[in-house]
């Protein structure tokens, strides 16, 4: 029937011309490049790691697996990892969801300042957070001594416990959830809320039935990321758990390696695969949950009209700033005061206060000086590279859904899911000998650290980029396609600018994370390639808490300065590029 109606011309005059050309070559080049980068950064170290546990030295052996499974310490640490992983995630998600809803949807004042303060703990390295909180509550706390309420020297710090670890993980990663939920709330069209209100729903009902469900992709995505971060965190359980003998998998790995050296490589490789499995379960669960419903918001609209709190406004504002005091001001004050005392346990007074700790690490200590330079260059390089790769990679993962794009996604997650210690070991195993064919030796140089940073932090830029892609209507790309733009052109002029806010936000996270990173560099540094994290760690291990506190204080100050300075650039950037800025 249909065939005859259209009156199609005789098909003999419709010859296929030669002008149908082969696909889009630039797209294939780019795809190949992206895949190659992922392979080099993620798959090779993983393979090297697996080889180490199943075939150390090239011969098949399950001795390492057997030894690991039969060791009760493995199971204790696994249990501990799950406890702090779930505990920390729950706390972070609770904090990180409630706070953005409060400040995005109500008329509280001082929003920008609050956002800046609330997000700051995320930019501070975990070991600095741990150091600060320990200095705050410990018996040597200059602040408690000032107030005259310090426990006697030698008494136990209450943070040396599982609860302490969970608390600090929640404080550390709550802002991560905050950023993603807030980014989601910014895109919430106000009609969706107003339609609910017009339907007779109360504010609470709208929040429960419209706002929160639409925020699910952000919340679920953030939960998975936070869970992976908590399980893989080294700094906090190292400072708080080791003294209480509460070992999680990363600290167990570190202890084994520190105690037994390279002979323990096979055993810790097994432990790291174990923790990798735990993290993968979290990521896969996230993927399954977020695929069950479609949450894409297609319309562009004005943001939601803030809800007037009326007479409760002052109360809510007071609670908000009390939270800031508790999670940021007091610990940083503790850290700062410690950096001013001349030695451990000495009370701070006008007579004892000194800046000598600062002058020592700035002028007298060569390693500390080069560490500032190394860390800056490393973190900037990692951030820029990751953003440039994350945009095309996120494009393939989000918009070209095929089996291999999912594989790519999981592959990039892996190095971050594994604790930094493990990636460091994989890098060590890979680069202990010079790279074959080109005979390049990067072991004991700053390049091996850069490699590990790129591998490890790529996912921090990729995750927000992928969720950014999911929220963009694809017809925007298709419109460029029919305008004649090839893949690279679309990537440059349409796709990149549209996902830039989220991608750059991811890059910024990378910079902040890498700047005082400890876990990876602690195992890969050499003289001349020290990082800030390494120098802080060395001082603290040597009992020089005041030097450690001095560098930490400067790190925090630099971080804050960067955040403030970037705010001045903000008007040249599209909205939402700087996550902490309103």
């Amino acid at each position: 029937m249909a065939g005859s109606i259209g009156g199609v011309r005789n098909s003999s005059d419709l010859v296929i011309p030669a002008s149908i050309k082969r696909g889009f070559p630039s797209e294939w080049v780019l795809t190949g490049l992206v895949v190659a980068i992922v392979v080099i950064l993620s798959i090779l170290p993983m393979l090297r790691l697996v080889q180490e546990i199943i075939a150390p030295g090239g011969r098949l052996s399950i001795a390492a697996v057997e030894a690991g499974l039969s060791n009760p310490a493995t199971w204790t640490a696994t249990w501990h990892s799950l406890v702090v992983g779930f505990g920390g995630t729950a706390l972070a998600v609770l904090f990180g969801t409630a706070v953005p809803i409060l400040i995005s949807l109500t008329d509280v004042r001082g929003r920008s300042a609050f956002v800046l303060c609330f997000v700051t703990p995320l930019m501070i390295a975990p070991q600095v957070t741990a150091l600060a909180w320990l200095q705050l509550f410990g018996p040597a706390s200059p602040l408690l001594k000032l107030l005259g309420i310090a426990p006697p020297l030698g008494s136990r710090n209450p943070l040396y416990s599982a609860q302490g670890i969970i608390l600090l993980l929640g404080v550390q990663y709550g802002p991560l959830v905050f950023l993603m939920v807030r980014a989601g709330l910014r895109k919430l069209p106000r009609e969706l809320v107003e339609a609910g209100l017009a339907g007779g729903a109360s504010r609470w009902t709208v929040l429960r039935t419209i706002v929160l469900p639409l925020m699910t992709p952000s919340i679920i995505g953030a939960s998975a990321l936070v869970f992976v971060s908590c399980v893989g965190n080294f700094g906090i359980p190292a400072f708080l758990g080791i003294p209480a003998n509460y070992l999680v998998l990363p600290t167990l790995i570190y202890q084994r390696l520190a105690g037994a050296g390279p002979s323990a490589l096979a055993e810790v490789a097994f432990l790291s695969v174990l923790i990798g499995v735990i993290a993968m379960v979290g990521i896969v669960a996230q993927d399954i949950i977020s695929r069950r419903r479609d949450y894409r918001i297609a319309t562009t609209s004005l943001p939601v009209e803030p809800f007037e709190l009326g007479r409760y406004r002052v109360l809510v504002e007071a609670i908000m700033w009390l939270i800031i005091c508790a999670i940021l001001v007091l610990p940083m004050l503790g850290l700062f005061l410690t950096s001013l005392v001349p030695g451990y346990g000495i009370p701070l007074s006008f007579k004892t206060v000194t800046l000598s700790n600062y002058s020592f690490v700035l002028f007298d200590h060569a390693a500390a000086k080069s560490a500032f330079f190394n860390s800056s260059v490393l973190s900037v390089a990692a951030a820029v590279f990751a953003v440039l790769v994350a945009v095309p990679l996120g494009y393939f993962i989000a918009w070209r859904t095929s089996w291999w794009s999912k594989v790519l996604n999981l592959t990039v997650e892996l190095p971050y899911a594994l604790p930094g210690v493990v990636l460091a070991i994989a890098a060590l195993l890979m680069f202990l000998k010079p790279i074959p064919l080109i005979d390049l030796r990067i072991y004991n140089t700053v390049w091996i650290i850069l490699y590990a940073y790129l591998a490890r932090f790529m996912v921090l830029a990729l995750r927000p980029t992928v969720s950014g892609f999911h929220q963009i209507d694809r017809s925007l790309e298709e419109a460029a396609q029919v305008a004649g733009a090839g893949f690279v052109m679309r990537l440059r002029t349409i796709i990149f600018p549209m996902v830039a806010p989220v991608a750059v936000a991811g890059g910024l996270l990378i910079f902040m994370t890498a700047f005082s990173e400890l876990t990876v560099s602690a195992l890969l540094w050499a003289s001349g390639s020290e990082t800030i994290g390494v120098v802080i760690f060395s001082f603290e291990q040597g009992g020089d808490s005041s030097y450690a506190a001095a560098i930490s204080t400067m790190t925090v100050a630099l971080t804050l300065l960067l955040m403030l300075a970037s705010n001045f650039l903000a008007r040249h950037l599209p909205n939402g590029v700087l996550p902490w800025r309103d």
């Binding site: 029937m1 249909a2 065939g3 005859s4 109606i5 259209g6 009156g7 199609v8 011309r9 098909s11 419709l14 010859v15 296929i16 011309p17 002008s19 149908i20 050309k21 696909g23 889009f24 297609a298 319309t299 562009t300 209507d473 017809s475 925007l476 298709e478 419109a479 460029a480 396609q481 029919v482 305008a483 004649g484 733009a485 090839g486 052109m489 002029t493 349409i494 600018p497 549209m498 599209p574």
Partner: protein, 360 residues
């Protein structure tokens, strides 16, 4: 400028056949509307013409050049077609002028030439002076006009409209309809216009392709579609045609034949090859029914509902003997029919729906 040939195109997504064996030949400069209920495959068809979807079978030829075959699919950016998207698809990070001038920039047209053509395109859609605005600061109608300007700036040989008026209010629709018609008249571009709104399709198109469940139900000019629907689906879909069972009594003669419908003999229009048969279907339009006085010869009907529509009323009714059939007619003022009473109705004429045949 270029014609479009869709030659026996099919599209399967897994086991689901979204389009089957569709052939449409659009002449150079023609305005073709593709009309159908949602899920009929019209958007899939458009996406295949644009190159976003590959064909499973058949081929698509634009301007004599084969664009899609199951083996080869020329990417959208090489096809030189324009699309006006339903949601406008304006890039939020660019100004209006940058949006409009994008394809010229891609084609590396010089800055001065680009500015000139962008200004020209903007003035054609009455948006002169809006070049520096952001899409977010425009109204729905303005966004649609920007999308139109963006599409016409590169003078594509074929323009695809994907339900461009679905998001606009009624008042604006009429204005944009005029604008589209004007655009077509001025540029002479071949247009394929996807819509689910028949009034829109009737008002704009030279010919309309009615789609139903992935098949082409009929391809004809609006008047023919209305007067001579090829099958029951088209008859009932277009302007809510009334389908009645009928027996054909005589062979076609001068385009007419006699049928018996609801116990009455009526002379109706038909195809020239009709011959007497039972269980045929007759399509009546509401103006072809008329209420008659109680003493006159007519079909007894029960009035179910009378809706006054200003100057006239739409009357819904069913034959007393066949309450399962739904008829409707329009009565001009003074409206005398009221719901709940019985009346008599006469069928003046109608169109005998051709006998369904299997595809050749």
């Amino acid at each position: 400028m270029a014609g479009l040939t869709i030659d026996r195109v099919s599209k399967r997504f897994g086991d689901y056949e979204a389009l089957s064996n569709v052939s449409i030949n659009v002449a150079d400069g023609e305005f073709l509307a593709v009309l159908g209920p949602s899920g009929c495959g019209k958007t899939t068809l458009l996406r295949m013409v644009a190159g976003f979807e590959k064909v499973t079978d058949g081929r698509i030829i634009i301007g004599g050049e084969t664009m899609s075959t199951p083996e080869r699919n020329l990417p959208p950016e090489k096809r030189r077609v324009g699309i006006v998207f339903q949601n406008y698809a304006l890039w939020p990070h660019m100004t209006v002028a940058e949006n409009v001038g994008y394809s010229l920039k891609v084609a590396k047209v010089s800055r001065a030439e680009r500015d000139r053509r962008v200004a020209e395109a903007l003035s054609l859609v009455n948006l002169t002076g809006y070049g520096d605005r952001r899409p977010a600061n425009l109204s729905g109608g303005q966004r649609q006009r920007v999308a139109l300007a963006r599409c016409l700036v590169s003078a594509p040989s074929l323009v695809l409209f994907d339900e461009p008026l679905a998001n606009l209010d009624v008042h604006l629709r009429a204005a944009m309809e005029d604008e589209f018609a004007d655009f077509h008249k001025r540029t002479g571009t071949t247009i394929v216009y996807i819509t689910h709104d028949q009034a829109e399709a009737m008002a704009l198109a030279d010919r309309i392709a009615v789609m139903d469940e992935g098949r082409l139900a009929q391809l004809a000019p609006p008047r023919e579609l209305y007067r001579e629907p090829a099958n029951e689906m088209v008859a009932s879909f277009i302007s809510q045609g009334i389908i009645l069972p009928a027996d054909v009594l005589t062979a076609a003669e001068a385009g007419h034949c006699r049928v018996r419908v609801l116990g009455h003999e009526v002379l109706v229009r038909c195809r020239p090859d009709e011959s007497p048969r039972a269980a045929a279907k007759l399509c009546c339009r509401s103006p072809e029914l008329e209420a008659v006085g109680p003493s006159e010869d007519g079909i007894p009907v029960a009035i179910k509902r009378v809706v006054y529509q200003g100057g006239r009323a739409r009357v819904e009714l069913s034959p007393v003997e066949r309450p399962d059939l739904n008829l409707h007619l329009e009565q001009a003022d003074p409206v005398t029919l009221v719901a709940g009473v019985e009346a008599r109705v006469r069928i003046r004429t109608g169109w005998l729906i051709p006998e369904a045949r299997n595809a050749p």
